[in-house]
């Protein structure tokens, strides 16, 4: 719907009409989440985070789909959905907790209708379908949106989740960010046909969308969410995009991919095309762009400051929250460990 050059193209099935205000909002989202991501990469480089999984290049897929959600919809992310987290109102600093190693998940999923990051590839797809089956049983009209990568499509769990969603006609939308790589493995190690076509084998619609086009992602996700809310069952969306950075900060992509590929995708940058479109159509002036850039810088600084202030957990927190109800073994081990620690202090 938005070419890399910032031309607006109509699509017969998926049209959306956005106010200039809304377009500006999307642009702001894109810029801010990219800024948070850059800050996190920098924090990792400086030893403040153990690891970071960058969303660079996938901003449009995440903001487009994330902004299609209603507040009451539920989201199940992987470990890379920082842009979606932003749309769900999760404080970016909370995302850093697990990468800094102060917790395994730092926000309240119920507060944001945004589940915790899941690292075990694909396992969240089943949680999402189960959640959607619960929504069905509640007679509610919320949708559930679940994210996963191209690599994840090879996991048994993801395929089982397709089966369950289809058999129970669960109100769930599968959102696959095909960023072309699963660490060092290119797409052809996971499939020999386009991923969106996987859905047809399970009996529900699959659609590919330009994952670098925020408007297209928004339109397609909105439609799919509306479909599930009205009981029409699951859809698989394949957002065709590209992982511009390393898999994580531990990774070295020069070992397995050529620079020219990256260059080609740079031309399709998800932010540049929105900016070009806004310029061309005078949806914003230089002041607006400057203001957003300034806001981004502020945000980056703020995230950095609060990241450094994240407190290390207390040693005895090891025993917290493992069980909801009193558990003898936990109590015993906690007491022993407390005594052990006191031994040092004494």
């Amino acid at each position: 719907m938005l070419t890399p050059e910032g031309e607006r193209v109509e699509h017969p099935d998926y049209d959306i009409d956005l106010t200039p205000e809304e377009i500006r909002g999307l642009y702001r989202d894109l810029v801010l989440v990219r800024r948070v991501d850059l800050e996190a990469v920098a924090l990792q480089r400086q030893g403040e985070l153990g690891l970071w999984a960058s969303l660079l290049g996938q901003e449009a897929a995440q903001i487009g789909s994330g902004r299609a959600l209603a507040a009451t919809d539920m989201v199940f992310p992987t470990y890379r959905e920082h842009g979606v987290a932003w749309c769900r109102g999760v404080d970016p600093v909370n995302l850093l907790g697990m990468f800094r190693g102060v917790n395994h998940g730092g926000w309240d999923p119920a507060e944001h209708n945004f589940h915790l990051y899941t690292i075990v590839i694909g396992s969240q797809t089943l949680h999402a379908v189960g959640y959607a089956m619960g929504v069905q049983r509640d007679g509610a009209e919320n949708a559930t949106l679940v994210y996963f990568g191209d690599g994840a499509t090879s996991q048994g769990d993801v395929n089982e989740s397709f089966i369950w969603a289809s058999v129970f006609n669960a109100p769930v939308v599968f959102f696959c960010q095909n960023n072309q790589w699963a660490i060092s493995e290119p797409l052809e190690k996971q499939t020999r046909i386009p991923l969106y076509r996987r859905a047809s084998g399970f009996g529900f619609p699959g659609i590919r969308v330009d994952g670098n086009d925020v408007l297209a992602c928004l339109a397609v996700t909105r439609k799919a969410l509306a479909d599930v809310r009205s009981g029409q069952g699951p859809t698989l969306i394949e957002a065709f995009t590209y992982r511009m950075g390393a898999h994580t900060t531990s990774d070295d992509p020069t070992r397995y991919r050529v620079a020219s590929e990256l260059e080609a995708w740079k031309l399709k940058d998800p932010i540049e095309r929105v900016r070009a479109y806004m310029f061309k159509n005078q949806l914003a002036d230089q002041d607006f762009f400057d203001a957003i850039d300034a806001e981004a810088d502020e945000l980056g600084k703020d995230v950095r400051k609060r990241c450094l202030a994240l407190p290390d957990p207390e040693p005895l927190a090891i025993f917290d929250h493992v069980y909801a109800e009193p558990h003898r073994l936990m109590e015993e081990e906690r007491a022993e460990f407390a005594a052990y620690l006191e031994g040092f202090e004494g």
Binding site: D108, G130, A132, M133, G134, W164, D320, Y323, A324
Partner: protein, 327 residues
């Protein structure tokens, strides 16, 4: 008081839990019209409908994975794994998700999911239908692991497991499904033994037998037989494997000075190892002999014509009793 088989007691317990709380769901393969291959869920779909008693696709990872999602939405799913040997496709969902998600969320998420597993041998079945996989789960922090051994516990413990806000792996000794006992279904839940407590099922003074699930009955029989040799054998039904009711166990062993653990699972790194290690640490000076372990050989479960040799029985337990006295 009603006379119930273990299978029926579990069935009644689930029925009661479903009546008490509309969020309780039953899910698994063949749990609906068929009532499960052991009929433990018999009649529940008829009475509570397909929305609450769900025949699932044939995929154990899917069962546990979607149960987690249902729990996140406020439901309390009770999942049936058809046989012990088929729990492994669900291992990832149980070990990396069900057990760890509560901690991952710093306690904000709770997963009241029960995983029912008919377990153990003795029914002449083919491969994968007679196993005792409890050690895989007792070693998995975040799970509670319990085993019932009789209809009374079947009726009460399943309800306690369902009410618990922690994920519970619930073992049911399949060869005891058809054994009966009087169950007081009218007793108040407040009077039930907490499901994380062990129970002394026979008092004795010379040696303590620790067992759970199918082996409790075997140990009781052994205790009776040992009486003839003038040996007073105490039998403890552990009921909860994680956490272990270690104080009750230690109390007994300190008194008797001898301890034997009995389970069907292979000995090597089985749950008996944990008990033996822990009891020895706590009772070192009162033990007259090392804690002995009676269990399955450290081999895969054999073809059923060999299972009588594989499974601990009266003779094997009595032989261990002799050995522990001979030390």
């Amino acid at each position: 008081m009603t006379s119930l088989t273990l299978a029926k007691a579990l069935n009644e317990g689930m029925r009661k839990a479903m009546e008490d709380d509309p969020k309780v769901l039953i899910m698994g393969e063949d749990v609906g019209k068929l009532g499960g291959v052991f009929r433990v869920t018999d009649g529940l779909q008829k009475d509570f409908g397909e929305q609450r008693v769900i025949d699932t696709p044939l995929a154990e990872s899917g069962i546990i994975g979607t149960a987690i999602g249902l729990a996140l939405r406020g439901y309390r799913p009770v999942c049936e794994i058809q046989f012990d040997g088929f729990v492994f496709p669900a291992a990832d969902q149980i070990i990396t998700q069900l057990a760890k998600m509560p901690l991952r969320s710093l306690g904000k998420l709770r997963l009241p999911v029960v995983v029912r597993i008919p377990c153990g041998g003795g029914i002449g079945a083919v491969e994968h239908h007679s196993e005792s996989p409890e050690a895989y789960f007792t070693h998995t922090a975040g799970l509670r692991v319990v085993a019932c051994s009789n209809p009374v516990d079947g009726y009460t413990m399943i309800q306690q497991a369902i009410r618990s806000d922690d994920p519970v792996v619930f073992f049911e000794p399949k060869r005891r499904y058809w054994e009966k006992a009087e169950v007081d279904t009218a007793a108040s839940a407040a009077d039930w033994t907490p499901f994380d407590q062990a129970r002394v099922v026979r008092q004795g003074s010379d040696v303590t037998l620790l067992a759970y699930g199918p082996m409790v009955k075997t140990c009781l029989e052994a205790a009776t037989a040992a009486e003839d040799d003038g040996r007073s054998v105490e039998v403890v039904d552990l009921r909860s494997l994680n956490p272990l009711d270690v104080d009750r166990v230690v109390e007994s062993v300190s008194r008797t000075g001898r301890c034997i653990v009995v389970h069907e699972a292979p000995i090597y790194n089985g749950f008996g190892a944990e008990i033996a290690a822990r009891v020895t640490e706590r009772c070192f000076y009162s033990l007259e002999a090392p804690v002995l372990r009676v269990g399955g050989p450290s081999t895969p479960y054999p073809p059923s014509r060999l299972e009588d040799h594989y499974l601990p029985d009266l003779d094997r337990v009595l032989e261990a009793v002799d050995r522990v006295f001979a030390f």
